[in-house]
Symmetry: C2
Subunit: 142 residues, 2 copies
């Protein structure tokens, strides 16, 4: 699925990416799916950042409209909706990992395992391995 050309500010791929992801919440939902294996609305809602329900509803709809997330009825409970990442969504893992490394190194977060993140940042191979593991996790059945 391709984003609506009319909403593009330019043909620059970075600008196109930010047209879809340039807000404070969309990538946090993708983060929850990648790192937290979250799949339900109530799980995203419970994240530490305290997203409002209307913003969460809007961002999930936009992520779905842009082919980053897909939704299906839960096989075990048909009234619940399960959200999963599409291939396009899984392809955002490198973006998330770079934001993780940058935030960990330059924003001095005390409660996070900085040493581990710095190790990933400095060593290309371990970063690649980390991304492969995340991708595998996202594309396997929970």
């Amino acid at each position: 699925m391709v984003s609506n050309v009319e909403t593009r500010r330019s043909d620059c791929p970075i600008s196109c990416s930010l047209d879809l992801l340039g807000d404070k919440w969309s990538l946090l939902i993708v983060r929850d799916m990648v790192f937290g294996r979250k799949r339900y609305f109530k799980e995203f809602f419970a994240s530490d950042e305290g997203i409002a329900t209307n913003i969460l509803t809007d961002r999930l709809k936009r992520l779905e409209d842009n082919g980053i997330v897909s939704k299906q009825p839960d096989l075990e409970n048909g009234r619940q909706i399960v959200y999963t990442l599409t291939e396009k969504g899984v392809a955002l893992i490198p973006v998330l990992v770079e934001l993780l490394c940058w935030g960990a190194v330059y924003d001095g977060v005390s409660q996070f395992d900085l040493d581990k993140v710095r190790q990933i940042l400095q060593d290309t191979r371990s970063r690649q391995r980390f991304m492969r593991e995340l991708k595998k996790r996202c594309t396997s059945t929970p």
Copy 2:
């Protein structure tokens, strides 16, 4: 420089990064400095995306307050301000490159050299080289 802890939504490094960069414009200004070697307000203002002057002023101030950009009077024309990336700003190159690759692959932009971007995306070594070249460019005198 560390971002204000009070404005943080959580201690997650990805969330912290998005507290600073999660909008449609901040990373485009950094992009202009990395890829376009832009340094002046009027140069950022002239970019294809058509940023409004008040938004540009606000984002440059925020980037400066968060230690991503620094500003000095232009040595050749003291009335002009020159903006440059700090070390923290240069460290955003991998984030930009991943957004570039993702946008180029998943948003089918016709006017961009997709083949070149796909080559960077698929080959880890060439991606590393590309990032090193960009970093070198940003830390050398124009």
